[in-house]
Symmetry: C2
Subunit: 182 residues, 2 copies
DNA sequence: CGTAAATATTTTAAGTCTGAAATATTTTTT
DNA sequence: AAAAAATATTTCAGACTTAAAATATTTACG
């Protein structure tokens, strides 16, 4: 039991006892991460609008559909993009109206809607994706390749930490809800 | 493993930096950065709603105002949060209606609106900020302290790279626009 | 001085986004 | 098989967001 706890070097208890109440470093890290993310998003949004008269949500949705041959359900897209189902429905409506996406209910389960890029959508996405990749490279051009690799690795660790913290909290809420049941 | 790789043409097996036209590493880095950012935002949004019945944009705006004694103009807040002026106006309208923010035009320049937290707003923010800091620390708890520091540093380099790439493009657009003038 | 340019903010129209309720369909239970 | 539970999506109301146009005010300049 003891060993299991000490195997987690930075859990809530340990950290608090080392620097009680101070989490400024993590806060500053988060703000900097957010700044980078916002700068990139805004820039890509601007370029998509100027060069292709489209929006980031549309581009992102098409990017998901481009990854598959058989199509993707609304729920799957929603999960991958980490947005609500209702949002996917709304964006898809626009893309279908513009002939870029096809939507049809699955024959074996009529609850499910299967989304695919139309040939026109596939072609349009291809052109955008090529430029998009160039833009991203430009934006990160000031970083040396080893820094890119290391940043990628550290953000991988961050992702793991986030998923774990979020899962833990969900578990806590569930056991909390069960308290009075038995 | 080796055979599969060496079956590819030579330029395919070399590093990305040596492959002209390939920017997949940067693209994957951006997607991972976005994932982290979205995971944190969504989680904070959920907790703010559940624990304080408020939203992230409101929290962010109040966080800016909390940093100053003399107040901040709409434009200043807009710049710091990297959102449009109109957006600040909209969010402020709600906060003023709830008595959390005070808005008054500057006596020496009546174009300018000066925003401050009301005493009630200051108190409400203080409570939220304390919890917020804990949440962020929890989310990053899986990272060792040196990793936090290094990630912070690398994101600083990233920020520099982004600002430079964005400034360069603005400059290009400006000189493009001037081409036929002289 | 008086007008033009610059600056700060608000308004507008349209799109994005959310959580929750409603709907439609399939699966499980009785 | 009928009822209940589970699943997938859409609808809804409301908040956020943007870019661009409109408004209000100040500053620059002729």
């Amino acid at each position: 039991m003891d060993s299991a706890v000490s195997a987690l070097p930075l859990d809530r208890e340990t950290k608090a006892s080392e620097r009680p109440g101070d989490h400024k470093d993590e806060l500053r890290l988060w703000l900097r991460l957010l700044t980078c993310s916002t700068l990139i998003e805004t820039e890509i949004r601007n370029r998509l609008r100027e060069e292709f008269r489209t929006t980031l949500p549309r581009f992102d949705l098409m990017a998901q559909l481009e990854k598959t041959v058989v199509g993707m359900t609304v729920g799957e897209v929603s999960q991958r993009l980490m947005v609500s189902n209702g949002n996917v429905t709304a964006v898809v409506t626009g893309l279908v109206a513009d002939g870029l996406v096809d939507k049809r209910s699955a024959p074996q389960d009529r609850r499910v809607q299967i989304l695919t890029l139309t040939p026109q959508g596939r072609k349009a996405f291809k052109a955008m994706a090529e430029r998009h990749e160039e833009w991203i490279a430009e934006l990160f051009a000031g970083l040396a390749q080893p820094d890119v690799a290391q940043l990628f690795r550290l953000l991988g660790d961050t992702k793991t930490s986030l998923h774990r913290a979020i899962a833990d909290r969900v578990k806590d809420a569930a056991s909390e809800a069960l308290k009075g049941d038995a």
